[in-house]
Structures are given as C-alpha cells and as structure tokens.
C-alpha cells in the first residue's frame, strides 16, 4: 500500500510536469492549428537556463524566474520570426518547428556543454516528511502544488478574463473572432509566449526532480507531451490535465512493475485513443 501511494505521488508529480508542457501545446494547437514541435526544446532550455541562473545566483526562485523569462522570450522569437511567416501552410509549419527543435537542442550543447548536469533541490525543499510509514518528499509535493496552481490560474484566465474569452472564442471559430475586429494574431503571439513560459517552467522544475538534465530531455518530454495532448484532446486544458495525470501515474506504475514496457504503454494508450476516439478524451 505504501509503495502504491508513493508511486501515485511520484506519478502525479511527473504528471504535473508533463501538464506544464502539454498545456501550452494544446492551447497553441487549439487556437491556430500549429503543432509546435519545438515545444520540447523550450522545456530543455528552461531547465538549462534556469539551472544556470540558480547556480550563479544561489536562489532557486531566481532560477524559476529566469526560466520563465527565457521561455517567454524564445516563445516571442519563435512565433514572430518562424511560425508567423508560414501561417496556413501546415507542411511548412511542421518542418520549421521540427528544425527549430533540432537547432535549439544543439544550441544547448553549444552554450552549456554536451555533458549532463546534476542539479540539487534547494535545502528548504530537499527534505522529506515521514507520515506513518509513507515518505513524502517535499520537492515532489512542491511540483504538484505548482502544477495545481498553474492549472487553476489557466482556468481562471480562460473562464474569467477578456483574453481568456477571446482565446476560447478563437478555438471555436477563429474567423468570427477576427470579423469582430480582434487581432487574433496578436492574441496568438501572447498565447504562444504563455505556452513557452509554462514549458520552460516545467523544465526548470524538472531539473532538481530528476537530479540530472541532458540536452535530449527536450525530445523525450516533447514526445510525452504530444502523447498527452492527443489523449486529452487537442485544445482542451482539462483534457490535457487528466491525460497528463494518467500518463504520469501509469508511467510510474509501469516503471516500477514492468520497466521495459513503460514507454510502450503510453504509445499503446495513444494508439488506442487515436483509433477509437481520434478527437481525444475531452476533444470536441
């Protein structure tokens, strides 16, 4: 029972990280039908830049802020100069964002070196509580808390603010929103930056969670995020959250009981969803 509980907490924490990555992906796709293959690279950049800030300033918070800032900045650059020029051309979009993933991943090796870095959580998050016979690791609970906060924040933004209203309307009918005099491209730029910032935040939180980071985490977690977005339904934040938890917990269980199948299970899950319910669990 303790093992199960520990695995569940582990899985939920991983799920929170994947959610941070998938939320931006699903919003970007839902709004503009842009599948951003470079999203995983933003996750990796967030991790590396954040860790660099953390190591140089000694403050974990500065690392997190640095990651979010670099994520948003990259989001702006990517959207403005690479994604916008190829709007409406799905083939070119897929290829350009894939190229960006490559270049950004390689640039990590150029700037931060090709070797993996080990990262420690700050002292105040590095302890654990013993509740009964269950070990609660503080950092995991912290990651889960951030995931929940971001989820609630996104829900608030989407349901209660003007920007959220426009985004929701844009997901439903982009042309109509434009006809009402709203510059949807500008809104999209903001959504893209928001998504990029969340991805980078996810990367930074991932670093002490995993203990080591390497340049390939962008590709690995990018694929996981895609799987989550497909399972949850493109454009649905709640769907992504559910799917991220599902993938996270399932991954943790499989990694413990049948480690050789842990990646295959997610793929099979995605296959099943695509074959029987291509729109995803909560997609329209």
């Amino acid at each position: 029972m303790d093992v199960l509980l520990n695995l569940a907490i582990n899985g939920i924490a991983t799920g929170s990280l994947i959610f941070l990555l998938a939320a931006g992906l699903t919003l970007i796709f839902g709004l503009m039908h842009v599948l951003n293959f470079a999203h995983g690279a933003l996750f990796a950049w967030g991790a590396y830049f954040g860790v660099w800030m953390y190591a140089n300033t000694g403050s974990f918070l500065a690392g997190i802020l640095g990651a979010i800032v670099i994520g948003g900045l990259f989001g702006w650059l990517l959207e403005r100069f690479f994604v916008q020029p190829v709007y409406g051309n799905a083939m070119a979009q897929i290829q350009v964002t894939m190229g960006l993933l490559l270049v950004l991943n390689e640039l990590i090796k150029v700037f931060f070196g090709p070797n993996q870095l080990s990262v420690q959580a700050p002292e105040y998050l590095d302890e654990s509580w013993l509740v009964g016979s269950v070990v609660l690791i503080k950092y995991r609970l912290f990651v889960i808390a951030v995931g929940v906060l971001v989820f609630l924040g996104l829900q608030y933004m989407l349901k209660r603010t003007r920007l959220g209203l426009i985004v929701r309307a844009g997901v439903m009918n982009k042309e109509m929103v434009q006809a009402l005099g709203i510059n949807i491209k500008k809104v999209f730029l903001h959504v893209f930056m928001l998504g990029a910032g969340m991805a980078a935040l996810g990367g930074m939180l991932f670093a002490p969670y995993a203990g080591v980071i390497h340049a390939d985490i962008g590709m690995d977690y990018g694929i996981l995020a895609f799987i989550v977005v497909v399972i949850g339904g493109m454009g649905s934040i709640v769907g992504s959250a559910l799917a991220a938890l599902l993938v996270g917990v399932l991954g943790a269980l499989m990694a413990f009981y049948v480690p050789s199948l842990s990646l295959a299970v997610n793929m099979l899950l995605m296959f099943a969803v695509l074959l029987f319910r291509p729109a995803g669990l909560l997609g329209r």
Binding site: V86, V96, L100, V103, A264, L275
Partner: protein, 322 residues
C-alpha cells in the same frame, strides 16, 4: 527547336554525370572519395524514398528511419548469423521487402486516415518505439555498441561495392521514376495538390496513400540493407531520429517532388558534412554541425521551398522561353 536545346536537357546532364561516376574509380585512386560516394548513393535512395511521401503525396513522416533500420539490421543479421554469401544477401533483401512491406502497410492503414499533424507525430512515436526496442533487445542488436560482420566476397572490394551502390541507385531511380509517372503516381500528385478534390473525383485517397507509404517503405528498407553492406557494421543508430531528419533535409535542399532532388540533396549534405567534420579540428563549434544543418533546413523550408533542382528547372523554363 533551337540548336542549344541540349544544354537545357536534364537528360544530357544526367547522362554526363552518370558517365563521370562510372569512370571515377578508374581515374581517382582516393579511397576516401570512393567511400563517400558510395554513401551518397545509398543515402540518395533513402532520400528518394522519402520524396515519394513528402514530394509526391504530401505526407510528412518523422519515422521513416524505421524502414531503414529494419533493412540494415535484417541484412546484417542474415550475413552475420547465417553465412556471408551473395545468396544470403539476396535472401535478406527478400526478407527486408517482406518486413518493410508489412510494417509500412500496417502503419499506413492505421494512421494515414488521420490528419497530417497526427501522422507526423505518430510516425515519430512509432520510430521511437523501434529505437527503444532495438536498444532493449541487446541479445540480437548488441545495442549502441553494434556489431561488425563479413559481407559477400563479390562486394568485398571497395570498387565493386562502389559499382553495386551506383547500380542500386540508378535502378531505384528508374523504378521510382516509373512509379511516379504511372497512373497511381499521378493520383498521388493529385492528392498532394488537393486532397478533397481528388476524393470527390472518386479516388479512395486512403488507399493511394497506403500505396505510397508501402512503396516508400520498401525503397527505404533496401537502402538500409545497402547501408549495412557499405559500412559492414550496424548499431542502433540506424533507428535514430536524425537519420529521418537527414532524409528530410536532403529532400528539401535537393528539391521536393523531383526525385532526382534526393540525389542532389544527399550529395550536398554528405559533402558539406564531410567538410564540417574536417573543420571540427579547426574550431570546436563545427562539431555541432547539426546547428548549421538545422538552420539551413529552416531557411530552406521558409525561403527556398523548391530546392536546388526545382529552382534549376524554373531557370531552365525561363531561359528556354527567353
């Protein structure tokens, strides 16, 4: 008809280049150049097979490498475990065709009904699965260490291997050219131009897309076999995503939907790669050649979508008229 017409004839230039390639081993004694050209021929077939998907049907696959890897490993295992004779090689080719045919059919039938986004993603995922499988199944694949094996005596000599690879490329080019000009090939191009219209003309789009997927898969499998023969070594890198991206880059730089663009692109990329590897001794930044290729690739997609061959053809039409 003007007298200078032969200058604009691609057939003339292709013939000249083939002639030069046939003469090359007799003129040059450079072993390195021979090996590099052999690799270019092999990669050219892989890039052409990719062009069937990308250029002729308008499908983006990020998992094309799985067929390449299946081909490479099948041939390597046959030569290593059975016997290193030419017969064994031929049998392995037949098995490669069978395996890649089955896999490409299954993947096509399962995923091609989805939109292009999903297809790109799913193929990426499936090829990732193949890579993991190859890495876990160490008894057979020897993981990333890989294994060396002996190749048939007939192909042992570098020069005969060179000619075999050249012949392989030419035959595959002619076959694929014939395929793209066949009625099926015309339907594929119609799908690329306008899928809805093709469907409303009464063609089963899915059916034709699956044909394209299988043809591309078979050709890629064979190129994988030749790759293993050319290297006499195989490891799990033959399932790596960057091999797919190489093919994508070669096809885009060479020119999509031209077939011969794959050959031009393969030559360009491998020559530049060889040059950059030499430069790596000068400055470490050149070790990260992926940055240059990736940047080149993005710029090509955005500003140079027709590629080298496409642009040359455009000039020819202009000059021919002027």
């Amino acid at each position: 008809m003007r007298t200078t017409n032969w200058l604009f004839s691609s057939r003339f230039w292709m013939g000249l280049i083939v002639l030069a390639l046939v003469c090359f081993p007799f003129v040059s004694g450079s072993r390195g150049a021979l090996i590099l050209l052999t690799q270019i021929f092999v990669y050219a077939v892989f890039a052409m097979s990719y062009d069937i998907l990308l250029g002729y049907t308008g499908i983006i696959s990020f998992g094309h490498v799985m067929f390449f890897g299946i081909g490479a490993y099948t041939t390597a295992l046959f030569l290593d475990r059975w016997e290193h004779t030419f017969l064994s090689f031929l049998v392995s080719l037949a098995v490669v065709l069978l395996l890649t045919g089955i896999v490409s059919y299954l993947i096509g039938a399962l995923t091609l009904r989805l939109k292009s986004h999903f297809y790109a993603m799913l193929t990426l995922a499936v090829s990732g699965l193949f890579l993991v499988l190859a890495e876990k199944w160490r008894d057979v694949t020897k993981g990333s260490d890989g294994f060396t094996f002996q190749i048939p005596d007939l192909l042992r000599d570098r020069t005969s291997l060179y000619f075999a690879a050249l012949a392989f490329m030419l035959v595959m080019y002619l076959l694929l050219k014939r395929f793209t000009e066949s009625p099926v090939g015309k339907v594929l191009q119609a799908i690329r131009e306008n899928e809805q219209r093709t469907e409303s003309l009464g063609y089963q789009v899915l059916h034709y897309k699956i044909i394209a997927s299988v043809v591309a898969g078979l050709a890629a499998g064979l190129s994988g076999s030749m790759y293993a023969i050319a290297l006499r070594f195989v490891n799990t890198a033959v399932f790596g995503i960057n091999v797919t991206l190489d093919a994508l880059l070669m096809t885009i730089i060479g020119g999509v939907g031209t077939l011969v663009g794959g050959v031009v692109g393969a030559a360009m990329i491998l020559l530049v790669h060889a040059g950059l590897t030499d430069l790596a001794k000068v400055h470490w930044i050149f070790e990260r050649w992926m940055v240059f290729f990736g940047a080149l690739y993005i710029l090509a997609v955005m500003f140079f979508p027709q590629g080298i061959v496409g642009t040359l053809r455009q000039w020819r039409t202009k000059l021919g008229k002027g």
